[in-house]
Symmetry: C2
Subunit: 242 residues, 2 copies
Amino acid sequence: MEPLFRNLERFAPFTDEERSALARLQDSPLSRSPARQPIISEGDNPGAVRLVATGWAYRFKDLPDGRRQILGFCLPGDFVALGAATLDEMDHSVGALTALSYHTIRHGDIDRIAQSYPRIAEAFARQEQVGAAIHREWLVNLGRRSAFERLAHLFAELFVRLEVIGMTQGRECRCPLTQNDLADAAGVTSVHLNRTMQEMRREGLVELKSKRLHILDFDRLADVAMFNPAYLRPGRQMRAFA
Amino acid sequence: MEPLFRNLERFAPFTDEERSALARLQDSPLSRSPARQPIISEGDNPGAVRLVATGWAYRFKDLPDGRRQILGFCLPGDFVALGAATLDEMDHSVGALTALSYHTIRHGDIDRIAQSYPRIAEAFARQEQVGAAIHREWLVNLGRRSAFERLAHLFAELFVRLEVIGMTQGRECRCPLTQNDLADAAGVTSVHLNRTMQEMRREGLVELKSKRLHILDFDRLADVAMFNPAYLRPGRQMRAFA
DNA sequence: CGGTTTTTTGATCTCTATCAACTATTGTGG
DNA sequence: CCACAATAGTTGATAGAGATCAAAAAACCG
């Protein structure tokens, strides 16, 4: 539950009453999924909102000819289909990256809590906005940055997001992504991604081994990526290495 | 106002009361902007919601080194910063593509109408969701499609959206985009875009001259682009050429 | 430990970027 | 309405980033 609070309380902390209302979301049924398993597929009726409790998930879209693009990552404390739950059909798929546990929350419960606690409703809305801002930043990434810059940007974003929810240790964090995943997120082939990865290592920017990501030089990383964390609204308390 | 209604009434038509409540948004002050002029810039406080009345606008993001990525197009009947108006800082910029007129609507007015008319609130929410779905489709476009496919997809999307708001004439429509704009949207250089454009002409797919877009073969266009209009929720009444 | 998944390497090809004109079109003021 | 300037579209030549194919080496897993 901690990651959810850290996500939502970045702007204004909640009252005890608000916190406990939110905490009741934990009573929603908890599902578990093994790693690498689909959660919802494009075309499905989302039915309910999901809240990631532990593990990572990812959004993606497959093309008829087999190409795949990863659209974003869902970390602990992130909602899946918060707004989309009103629609009858998912426009993209979501899958588990690691072993995953998540709450399935009826849309009515979200509505009710938002109705009763305007500040929570506001925090939900802001979360959705940050999600949209991330999409837009990825558009710039895919449209206008080189493979090297993209990868740098991707790592910078992930690291800041993990920092926000308290899942970093110094300049390290867990990162369950394979080079294949990274390639599908960065819009390059895995071969090219591998070579780009080696270059980042040589340059002393980041290192990724045995599912741990080491940020060797955040400033330089942010610099080559032209990364400006403002769109993530990290909040004042948190400042990546600064 | 017609485009707004066509946008919002795709799923369920409104009652007369709902329609007239929406129509009152027209009373909001109307601004006019010449073509090619900035409307809001990244970092600005959005302050209010904008509703495009006539003309096209575009969302974009500039990189410090001069590269630019277009993030999407705002057509008549589209809101700008519907949800984002709650945030204090725009994460991207918006500019006029053509001479533009738009209503500036206080966020409170939106809230009030959404409060009084749940079906309108729902329609607003769906619009936001379609906006997010468009972003996601663009991510696939930029990440996984070739320049030729991207351009085909872009035209297919624009045409369907224009059809929804009744701004097409047969298989033609107005299209004020320069090749430079198209290049910035497709994430390629304008030189390459020009050559891609010529290929599309040779292939008998689309033709763009003197600001008019001619769709020569929509089916084949959709086919090469792997374009599936579902994410746009075009509604049943409208079906591009089918 | 054997089998699977992931990472790495090498060689080659192709798409897209770059640079630098040049032509056509559009728009404007006289 | 023409003349000129500015904008937009087109062309050619060359360079470079990233794709593709195929296979080997490493890491991981039960």
